[in-house]
Amino acid sequence: MARESFDKEIQFLRMLVLTSGAYNRQQFAERLGISVHTFDKTIRRLKEIAAATQQQTSEEQSKEFADAVRYSYYDSADPRLLFLFRAKSLKDSESQRLALLLAAMHEKPQTALELLDLCCSGPTADAALFPDEKTIRSDLKYLEEVGVVKREPGARPYRYRIQNDLVRGLNDDELLDLLHFVDVMANTQVPSVQGYLLRDQLKRSVRRQTEANADEDSAAAGLSFLYKYHYYSRILDEAHLFTLLAAIRNRSKVTFVYFSPKTEQSYASKNTNPLFERDSGGKPQTALPIKVIYDHQYGRWYMLANNSREGIRKYRLEGMTQLAEGESVPEELFVEKRQELEQRIKHSWLIDTGGAVKVRARFFNPGDQSPNFVRERVLLQGQWGEIVEEEADSFIYEIIVNGTTEIRPWLRSFGSSCEVLAPRQLREEMIAEWKEIAAYYESV
């Protein structure tokens, strides 16, 4: 059976988050390459999952969906898009059975037959379930594989218990430390989806312990941290991350349908009926993935790959759909291509593999204010560049980068605190651009 793909949901949520409210149903569906009917169906399903996973107030639930996933800084530090990763579809009976088994193994270690008995005749038994022994055994195998349960040492019949050493081994105070640590790391490091999932479970455990004395919302959750200027939609692309990492590990090519972010459409339904087949707008691609890159400047993900015909190719993860692992290549070939790529991106501000140039810029210190925030920011964000000269009111920063396109926005963001000295062409481009910007506002 083909693995369930979440391409539609990912593209859907991304568009919703980025364009927040810009499009009506028709426009939205058109851009995703789906029918309005599919649009309605998708939004219904996502709403249902969001409502079941996020403990929202009823007031929040009644808000429009776009509003519900909107970034709202001081309201909540919960990752609003995490529910995507809870979207795997499951038969009702299966979810019921798994929950029953887990709750039983949470009580005490159980054998497969004891669990079977519980499903068929226990107080919570449901005639609709009645699994056979084989089903229970395959459930246990699955749960053990994903590490949710653990087989107890000892002879047959084997007993299984829930793998909850993390909460069992720690006291309340330590558990709170763990929740805080996981919260901080999930919010400040990438990748973070697994961290957010763990945070979710820890929060539930801590909440149960603090329920008695909690009245404030933050206290109830055991959390008091906020994170400012967060690209919260970054977690959508983590959906592809592990498929790509596995392919890289296996030295395998990947196949996918690519929608360049510059095209209007970002998804197309995969029609199974050939009568309705049409040009989907995306391009089928095959490439050998070598590196996955996260760009902190925009909060976007890239795959850097090698393609036998065109050499190094760069893809944005947001444009990749129908991703699948393909045939593998010889180790030597992979190593050779990786070395080549590593050389080429050594001086990429982001991912530019063009020719290297030395950029030289003068930064001006902010007058008499005591903290020199210009210098601080250059040191913090200037990557491998260096301050080569310092004067009383300014300093000179130098960096060797591939092309000037990617560093230019950063230099420009300093406004009049930055003057590009070299290369000449970049200096002239800056002047031209500032003139255009000034023209936008001259009528103030």
């Binding site: 927040s20 430390d177 805080h180 009245d215 959906a239 009049s416």
Partner: protein, 278 residues
């Protein structure tokens, strides 16, 4: 590792809601194992807890190798600080609803000694990579934002629950009052770069309007007044792709900084010319 395991399914989770079952997979544990290698771990746990955690996660595979080899982060700020030693005690004061006595350094290295206050939340700036405490200063009756690095003393202080409630309500009111709004227009010539532009604004509270007839996108931003500098740096970052359509303050500042930037290059705008010659 498949982030869409069926065990993460929302129905399973909600069915387990009241059973107290703690369910995590090896995915989360190997993520945690990787994170524990970060220097922040030493500040987040006591040595004893850290040993326990390493013991619990002993057999787990760490995500580490895979990420180190195949994953690169670009344009990342230097990580000055991820965990501050005060986080543990301050977060407990916040959760426990207690007051605080604080000594802290302000500009010009002056120190405010033993100020009584109510902590609200702690805030991490992803840009500056530093922690701040948001709190209410009882004597000055003001909402404060203080770098944890500048706090030299923080002790729990007994305060009546009523006073704490009032202080928190005051802070919430202040946060509302300080909200500013601006409208940023995407220049239609750059609509092809819409995705990049919207990504750049995705860290703000925003909505977008689309005028289909003219093909014009407008981003309505909501932000706190003390964040305007950051909003401005984003707008300058995007350059001529966007224009501030509404917000007199941001428009004035953009005119000012483009004029000053040009002056750095020896180019004077027409009205600067007049000022210079008059």
């Amino acid at each position: 590792m498949n982030p869409f395991e069926k065990i993460f399914n929302y129905q399973v989770i909600s069915r387990l809601e009241n059973s107290g079952t703690f369910m995590v997979t090896s995915h989360e544990r190997s993520w945690l194992k990787l994170m524990l290698r970060h220097p922040a771990a030493a500040a987040a746990f006591s040595a004893e807890t850290l040993t326990k955690l390493h013991g619990i996660l002993g057999e787990e595979q760490s995500l580490e190798l895979e990420l180190e080899e195949h994953f690169v982060e670009k344009a990342r700020s230097l990580e000055k600080q991820v965990y501050h030693p005060l986080l543990r005690s301050l977060s407990r004061a916040i959760i426990g609803g207690s007051g605080l006595t604080l000594s802290y350094k302000i500009k010009n290295d002056r120190v405010h000694e033993r100020q009584l206050g109510v902590p609200y939340k702690m805030e991490y700036s992803m840009v500056k990579r530093e922690w701040y405490l948001l709190w209410y200063n009882l004597r000055h009756r003001s909402f404060m934002r203080t770098k944890l690095a500048n706090i030299s003393l923080a002790e729990p202080a007994d305060l009546a629950p009523e006073r704490i409630k009032q202080a928190i309500a005051f802070i919430r009111g202040q946060l509302d009052k300080r909200k500013e709004y601006a409208v940023i227009e995407v220049m239609p010539a750059y609509n092809r770069e819409l995705s990049r532009i919207l990504y750049a604004f995705s860290c703000f509270d925003k909505t977008v309007d689309y005028d289909e007839d003219n093909g014009v996108y407008k981003v309505n931003l909501g932000y706190l007044s003390d964040e305007s500098e950051y909003v401005l740096s984003k707008i300058r970052f995007l350059g001529k792709r966007v224009r501030v359509a509404e917000s007199d303050y941001l428009r004035k500042r953009m005119l000012e900084s483009s004029g000053k930037a040009l002056a750095r290059y020896g180019v004077l705008l027409p009205d600067q010319d007049e000022q210079a010659s008059s």
